[in-house]
Assembly symmetry: C2
Homo-oligomer: 411 residues x 2
């Protein structure tokens, strides 16, 4: 008597079909393939030695407290440290504004859980982060794509999209995943103003904002909202929910991120998190605090910026040399990714098949478009490959593209 599991799953589970892209990407995991497909930070700069010292310190000082259950909100010294750290980027908040989560992906899931009713519309940049689409589809969200260009979300299009009565606006203003594009300052201000006028909250996802290696830091949407709302209190009570993470500055394997929001929203998120995983690892929170609190994090971020800047420069240089005419790409000022647009008649999924034969991989851009489109786009990661791999991999990818583009030229 076999259990007929397929008849037991919830409706939302039927929508969780494994994507074709994921199947394709499994091919890229072979060791001889140079992959620009993932979104992994450079492991060479993980502070392995400092984390070892922090483990020892934490266990000797905190003992069994580091291994016991702890508060859902997160470890208070860590939340206070996050408040101090974000204030360097102009985000002035108190611990009551902060929830520690098990990575930003959990923050996206919890936000879906507390906000989304089936059929609710979410405004997103197109393309946008795949993990947000995945998290919110499970709650039955519908997506309304707002086109973006080299300055981010197009504000005229946003104004129109706001008339669909969305639940919230989701935006990645800095070195966006997947495009690497940064939302310009005037658009940030327009976004804040429009959202407030329509009473529609903004979710600002900012995993890479600290990793700017070129140009000047732009104020976060949450900061501009605080100014617009005249939020002079040290406790933030505005219209923006801000996400960031230790995954790109310290180490993703610790699964540590945070949400900044008005205390009322934090309380709801805490209730949702209690049901989701009780709390984030006590030990990991103490490690992150121990490693970071003495100023190490700021120094370490400077190192990461330097490494990523070198890798981006090398990649851009090689793309200039090897990619054929008709192929365009972004020039991110920070973060982990750049984005390339192929001639319209080229399908990036087909390019990937050929690229894999040539031992190089990227992610085709179509799945980042929740409302369709983008068949001729590709996301390329420059943080995770060594300079040698970038040299070899981009040369290979250039050859593949040359072959495809030139073979299609009229004779």
């Amino acid at each position: 008597m076999q259990t007929p599991w397929e008849h037991r799953y919830a409706q939302r589970t039927q929508r969780m079909a494994s994507s074709a892209i994921r199947e394709l990407l499994k091919l890229t995991e072979k060791p001889d393939i140079i992959s620009f497909a993932g979104g992994l930070p450079a492991p060479e700069v993980f502070p392995v030695q400092e984390i070892e010292e922090a483990c020892i310190q934490v266990l000797r000082r905190e003992g069994s407290k580091a291994l016991q259950y702890s508060a859902t909100e997160g470890y208070l010294p860590l939340r206070e440290m996050i408040a101090r750290h974000t204030s360097r980027y102009g985000i002035e908040v108190i611990a009551e504004n902060i929830l520690v989560t098990s990575g930003s992906q959990q923050a996206l899931d919890l936000l879906g859980k507390i906000f989304i009713n089936r059929g609710d519309r979410i405004l997103v940049e197109s393309p946008t982060y795949l993990g947000a689409i995945q998290a919110w589809q499970a709650y039955g969200a519908e997506f309304v794509a707002v086109p973006s260009d080299e300055n981010g979300m197009v504000i005229d299009a946003l104004e129109e999209a706001l008339r669909t009565g969305p639940k919230f606006i989701y935006v990645l203003p800095n070195f966006q995943n997947p495009t690497g594009v940064t939302l310009s300052l005037d658009r940030r201000q327009e976004l804040v103003r429009l959202a407030a006028r329509h009473g529609v909250p903004i979710i600002e996802d900012d995993p890479y904002g600290q990793l700017r290696f070129e140009g000047d830091h732009l104020p976060s949407v949450v900061v501009l909202d605080g100014q617009y709302q005249e939020n002079h209190d040290s406790c933030y009570r505005g219209n923006v929910i801000y996400l960031s993470t230790f995954s790109k500055t310290l180490a993703p394997g610790l699964r540590l991120a945070w949400v900044i929001a008005p205390p009322d929203v934090i309380r709801k998120l805490v209730q949702a998190k209690q049901g989701a995983d009780l709390h984030t690892s006590t030990f990991n929170q103490m490690i992150a605090y121990e490693v970071s609190h003495g100023g190490f994090l700021d120094r370490h971020i400077r190192l990461i910026r330097q490494v990523y800047s070198e890798r981006r420069n090398l990649m851009l240089e090689l793309m200039e040399e090897t990619f054929p005419p008709g192929v365009r790409w972004t020039r991110p000022q920070g973060g982990l990714f750049l984005w390339s647009v192929l001639p319209d008649w080229l399908d990036a999924a087909e390019v990937l098949k050929m690229a894999v034969e040539h031992k190089v991989a990227f992610v085709p851009g179509a799945p980042f478009h929740p409302c369709g489109g983008g068949h001729n786009t590709m996301r390329i990661n420059y943080s995770n490959a060594s300079p040698e791999q970038i040299e070899l991999g981009i040369t290979r990818l250039g050859e593949v593209l040359q072959q495809l583009v030139i073979s299609a030229q009229p004779a």
Copy 2:
């Protein structure tokens, strides 16, 4: 312009109202109160030294791999070790049957996500684990309470409840939370038979099964199901989803647990977990593997059994001496909790108020009853208090109960 957040939340968030009991329990967190309210393991037996050594080993051997993103399914050596470990308890499975989760609470949440449509009925013991109620209410589950007695779920009542067309049956067969009661062998067999006949899956939650300090180990429901289904393959493909955890044997602060299920169910859980938190901390999984794999875990579990056995014995002895006639309690053969039933006219929430004045606390039993009832019950934890605290706390609680029961006697 204040954002009207309360109008933005999803319907499920309205159901997440903070419970009165949680407010009451905040009172019990004062340092001078002896609390039997929590569900915390004894911190005195956490293997702090061994975990420190494991951290060092893991970081020196695995380096940055321990800090990088990793597979959603979990760290393969850990999944293989779990398979070997559970086989000591008769559960023979392969790595494809195992998903590592961020604590058992996450397993409950993911199971809710993949199975529960709004309005689905879940059969639960009454009383049952509060965390499961909390996780599944968020997905709109309705609960059907199956009464339980000193041998666990009453099978006649289960047979009747199965006619409501439930999505699954949720059961904690060993030293149940909150009652401490163990499901008898013949009832386990009946449960397996009835569930298979009705085509209704069973979720077997077993956080404490390894912590038996009296009597003989009883085969898990998943094992009996394998026999009933004649599952002779090493890959389990039956009707039971089994949960267990490192929280009660190693340390809860690492947030590590696992699900055992047919591979098809594991695949769906993996998809749900991708959207929920990508994966469980790489580093913590490697630490758990490093600490446990050489036989340490089995030795350590023997130590925990001894400590908990002593604490339970002391508590039972003191209750015998100090609790007034008319108050009954269970005598668990393992786990962390015992359960006391007061005279029907006593409200445990009122008792708690008076107990807190006398600097001792427990959890009133009503919230563990998803369909009402249990106002005169209380859950008492014996794992987390030292023998001195148990002595003092139970004496105080006995005095409170004496006062309440004797003052109510006819003159």
